[in-house]
Symmetry: C2
Subunit: 479 residues, 2 copies
């Protein structure tokens, strides 16, 4: 394999490894002439579309319907909710002209769609019979990030879905948070093998305008946390300024309760790349992989036709059940092996003259590198079993890494030591912003919040300031 | 049925009928506070997504791969191709600021992605082995339309896909035009029942920068033409300014040949709404319909439970094969019938106490209104047959309308008379822009072009100016 093709940096040098994998596996090209806007290449784009569909299926299963709200929002809509505008006016792209004309009112590209959607909800919702209203939208949003951008992890354009629900009661809104969690579990854990914890963020780290923010955190290989989705319970903080009301069963006018949920498709894909990959490149979960099985014929002089024939008939057979590529390019087999390993294809099937003579093929697993000879007639069943097994072992390995990197600290010294090792650290905490700021200054770490549904009681004083502790929280350094 | 719900305008008053259907069937809401940017509601958005997927499947079948190019393009990229910039700089939205900062270079929202994609193609393509390169992208594009906007027909944001191919030879590029035509046929005719003709547009009506433009035209109910897709053979007009070159088999550097293809999802949906609909509202092709079968229980006192039970068991059974809705809302059956007719659901299943007693259900077809009693055990098979039959008859009816509205004219008087009747009129033509302008001034009609692949020889002098005719063309008034 030429050095140009292979991964030259071990995964333990995570930052460099990540950029090399993104480039060499053909995920993104950063040379697009606008900063923070990479081009997503076919190998990534296939997976972005696939993750999007996984969520869309979950949304449809749970009674959400699709909608298409415009990408442009008038400045006046942004200004309706005070907290929201304060945070977002600094990070949106402004459209001021169309053709040769100056616009009467500036428009901005959606960084998230509350201010596009809620004026319409105000028009649509009349009575309790219209509720719950559960709409979702898939697509891109735009934020003028001033931090260093990185493909999929932090960009000025990113792929996500956002659902926006309107509910009759505070209880129903809180139940929606739980439904969102199950949706996330079904996709992220059960299809992609990515473990996460769900935290209620502290008040000073809420979504601007939300009553409470619930965020899905996973641990990246360098021990830093990536937030991959959030659900916000908006309470009535938006229904009041946007005038979203309904007439209840007693004919009384009520402000509605709202939630919104945004799984970050780009971020989720970055977690898949980072968490499952190894020194050779990507390892893709079978349900996500653009190619699940690659067939590589090994040609030796005098045996070409038999091998080619066998490869073609196997290809026809397997493509009925799997996403299969038959690689007949003129490169030598070793080069192809490395390229498909780099791209993370879960199963490689090699067919050489010896295999043909014995009525078998050689199957190689991407995750473990294990080879096994399989009789032709069992190939389909065997691949199906192996794909399941690959997923289970990827998921288990990722879960083990996650669990190893959740630690506990009983005092500030221990906390600092644990933070150096990366991952999440559980502490008793006074729940004061001042104390969180001190932590941030001392260590760069942030309070990620209270574990959703855990209801743990603090056993110590606040680990940072020594005052009485109010909550058990998890802290970590984050992307 | 309340007047508020039903369609009050007959389809023969097409303009008004269209807007009423769009509103009352829940396709789009034009009250969004930015002009030309309607909100697409679930019933439309489901279909927009579905048409998009139909094309994506065709693209994948024909070896295209997905890509994600940014929505923002720097002004300098637009300026590279002369014709292109002249046409588009008047109709793009300009981003000048981000947060509080003025941008160093203005960015515009893509009105089409040539100028986003081709700088990258220039970096990616090295040798003949990299060709053909066939990428596609699905999403929205943005044009500052100054003509009157209309939901789905003409908006400032519209849904489409665009594929961009790079080829070694002029012949290969021309073959791509044919592949695009088959893709369009497979979706638009074979799944949506929309007839079209493919025209090579005259030189004065080409896509800015293209060598030739091929456009897919259908006839709307008012006799006006809607262009629903285009393929452009770009020749080497873009590869030269964008420096897209490859080393050929003889190690010589060559400029590549390019094509691009854009099926307009919004426009296609507007054609489906318009062409198939009737005085009661939408009639949806079964493959496209968000709901294919609606079950309506007819409750009579004393028989509620039996009917409900039957409706539920039928619902469970049918949803394995179809997209089914069970409508148990408290409205009376007649109200529900009209609502689902308005929304175009192909098949309605009514279950009343009499049906239960006889072990049957009543099936009503949306297209013909025909009712038939079907024994319970045959329901699934029967619905499947009826859906096929509905599609065939929708397709045939649409084709018959199209064919009736393609006429021929031997002189200018006949041409003018035929244009008044609407549709396409075939004429012998000198193929001079001046003559096309005269036609436009006299009648409002445009030269739509030469039928692709027809190779017809003119039999008369130019019908408009009387000079020798060079081509047989079709003319029509268009959207």
């Amino acid at each position: 394999m030429s050095e140009e093709l292979g991964i030259t940096v071990p995964k333990k040098n995570f930052g460099e490894w990540y950029l090399e994998v993104v480039k060499k596996a053909g995920l993104a090209d950063q040379r697009y002439p606008v900063k923070g806007f990479p081009v997503y290449m076919p190998w990534a784009m296939f997976m972005i579309k696939r993750i999007t569909r996984m969520f869309e299926e979950e949304f449809e299963r749970t009674g959400h319907e699709p909608a298409g709200f415009p990408v442009v929002i008038p400045e006046s809509s942004l200004k309706k909710e005070k907290e929201h505008v304060k945070s977002f006016e600094k990070e949106v792209f402004w459209i001021t002209h169309a053709g040769k004309n100056k616009l009467e009112e500036r428009l901005f590209l959606r960084p998230t769609s509350e201010t596009a959607i809620y004026p319409m909800y105000s028009l649509w919702i009349r009575t309790y019979q219209d509720l719950p209203l559960k709409l979702y939208q898939s697509g891109q949003v735009y934020r003028y990030e001033t931090k260093m951008t990185k493909p999929l992890i932090r960009g000025r354009e990113f792929f996500w879905l956002e659902s926006h629900t309107v509910q009759k009661t505070a209880e129903a809104a809180q139940k929606q948070v739980e439904e969102d969690m199950r949706i996330t579990e079904n996709v992220i854990e059960n299809k992609l093998g990515i473990p996460f914890m769900l935290f209620e963020r502290p008040p000073w780290d809420k979504f601007p305008g939300a009553e409470s923010t619930y965020a899905y955190d996973t641990i990246m290989p360098d021990g830093k946390i990536a937030q991959i989705a959030t659900t916000h319970n908006l309470g009535r903080n938006f229904s009041k300024p946007f005038n979203i009301t309904f007439t209840d069963e007693k004919e009384e006018k009520q402000y509605a309760y709202q939630t919104c949920f945004g799984p970050g498709v780009s971020r989720i894909l970055s977690a898949v790349v980072s968490i499952h990959g190894d020194d050779k490149g990507l390892i893709l979960p079978p349900e996500l992989a653009p190619v699940q099985v690659v067939i590589i014929p090994i040609l030796k002089k005098g045996h070409e036709n038999k091998v080619k024939e066998k490869a073609h008939s196997l290809f026809s057979e397997l493509r009925k059940s799997f996403r299969v590529r038959l690689d007949e390019r003129s490169y030598r087999p070793g080069f192809k092996y490395h390229e498909w390993e780099l791209k993370g294809v879960p199963v490689r099937v090699e067919i050489g003259p010896d295999d043909v003579a014995k009525g078998q093929v050689t199957i190689v697993r991407r995750d473990s590198g294990k080879k096994l000879a399989v009789s032709e007639k069992d190939v389909k069943k065997k691949i199906s079993d192996i794909l399941k097994d690959i997923f289970d072992s990827m998921k288990n390995r990722a879960k083990a890494f996650f669990d190893e990197n959740v630690r506990e600290a009983k005092n500030y010294k221990e906390l600092k030591q644990n933070l150096k090792r990366g991952g999440l650290v559980k502490i008793s905490f006074c729940y004061e912003e001042a104390c969180a700021k001190k932590l941030k200054n001392d260590t760069g770490a942030e309070v990620r919040g209270i574990e959703f549904g855990a209801n743990e009681k603090p056993v110590n004083k606040c680990v940072i300031c020594g005052k009485p502790a109010k909550k058990v929280v998890y802290v970590a350094r984050a992307y």
